[in-house]
Amino acid sequence: MDFQFLYILITGILIGGVAGYLGTLTISKRMALSIDPLGHLALPGVALGLLYGLDISLCAFLFIILGMILIWYFEIKTKLPTETLTAIVFTLGVAITFLFFPLDHDELEQAFIGDISKVNFSDVLFTLFLSLLLFFIVKKIYQKIILINISEDLAKIEKINIKKYNFLYLLSIAIIVALGTKIVGGLLSAALVAIPAATSRNLSKNLSQFSFLSVLFGILSTLIGIFLFKITGIQAGPLIILSSVFFFFISLFKLN
């Protein structure tokens, strides 16, 4: 048995599954914008990790949190729309990457679209721990976040602490996008979260189907991507995202 391949499979399944689950909370008009830019914010972190041999997910996480704090600070200072501020901060992330972290071509490729072949045993343990943690956080905040997304007024009347739950939600997003950089890189990790949930939304009638199918499509597209990588040697990141988009296209023909 090829242990390296086993590590890759386990890491992929864990990240793909949890990203799918968390993704169902992002399918709401009010949340749509928040995830994509985070991948760009992760880039300088990934680059820093690659340059100095540090864990790329950890560095990515720190940069995402830093970016979120900046956006939050600008929001308080300026009252500009979040979209505008997010655009400023995430382009800053890309600019910093190119200016301050001189990567060679291969490293740049890894930062952008990931390199799953680099996954080792400690990555598996790290991913297992964080995925389980995330799974429990998401399960705990799920109903509350859904209600907050539907109506903050109703959530307030139900005495839900909106700030606390939004914070836990954003923290979860930051963790999953950071974890995602290990398998699909900074530019694609937001897609791990968004696409399976979008596919599942097209097919589901209720919340349990919605989260179940999203986890399933998250795992399936990661598995297919990884097997295609094994066969062809092409980077797994883009293959995973392509499989994910493939399922999305199929779901269009069975809109519920």
């Binding site: 109903q143 109506s151 307030k156 589901s204 209720n206």
Partner: protein, 233 residues
């Protein structure tokens, strides 16, 4: 009308609401007793929804809003535009409140729908059915007061009539106090004990047949209004 106690369930004194430096409501005072139905009447943008939100402490206000102690309030919002973003069955929606299946089935029947509706997708309900679900959602925890914000449009007339009969039935059965926003004069005459005519300032308040004179209504809507329905049944 149902049994009423004399102690006010709600006292509002000199209520003022400002949103982004614009005064939306100025100097509103009234009292409400248990089991009463209060309607709030006024044109679009008059501050009706703002008033409900202030009563729920969802927005900042000046003046006093005093609810009787340990009172439970149910709120039926005007609309929930984001609810269709997520695939959700009617049962899922109730489960957001941690309600038991038994309670959900009971309330669904009380508002005149059958159990089959629990498996329906929220997005596939008609506007009338959805509104009933919203009422049931507000009622499931047995509130003492129901705040109901009427949608401006989108509900067919026959649907609307049954909603008000439903509210009246619930008012009697549960001795529920109701605060109701409406645009429909006939609803005010038919169902309410007390009316507040709001167009930023209070134009009139009191028993509908006493205060809803053509003169007051003209002032309220800035145009001539004919009253067709005068009798409470």
């Amino acid at each position: 009308m149902s049994e009423k106690s004399d102690l006010p369930i709600l006292i509002v004194k000199n209520l003022k609401v400002k949103l982004e430096n614009e005064e939306i409501i100025s100097n509103l005072s009234f009292e409400l007793k248990k089991g009463e139905i209060l309607t709030i009447l006024g044109p679009n943008g008059a501050g009706k929804t703002t008033l409900l939100k202030a009563l729920l402490s969802l927005i900042p206000f000046e003046g006093e809003i005093i609810w009787q102690k340990k009172i439970k309030i149910g709120y039926v919002p005007q609309r929930l535009p984001f609810i269709k973003d997520v695939p959700m069955s009617v049962e899922d929606f109730f489960k957001l409140k941690n309600s038991s299946k038994e309670k959900i089935e009971k309330i669904i029947e009380e508002i005149g729908l059958n159990k089959d509706f629990l498996n329906k997708k929220i997005g596939n309900l008609s506007s009338g059915q959805f509104q009933r679900i919203l009422i049931a959602w507000a009622l499931i925890d047995d509130p003492d007061v129901l705040l109901f914000d009427e949608p401006t449009s989108g509900i067919d007339v026959s649907g609307e009539e049954t909603i008000y009969s439903l509210l009246e039935k619930i008012n009697k059965e549960r001795k529920l106090t109701i605060i109701l926003i409406t645009h429909d004069l006939s609803v005010v005459f038919k169902f309410s004990d007390y009316v507040i005519c709001l167009n930023k300032n209070v134009i009139c308040q009191g028993e509908p047949k006493e205060v809803l004179t053509s003169q007051n209504l003209e002032k309220l809507y800035d145009k001539e209004i004919k009253i067709y329905q005068h009798h409470k049944h």
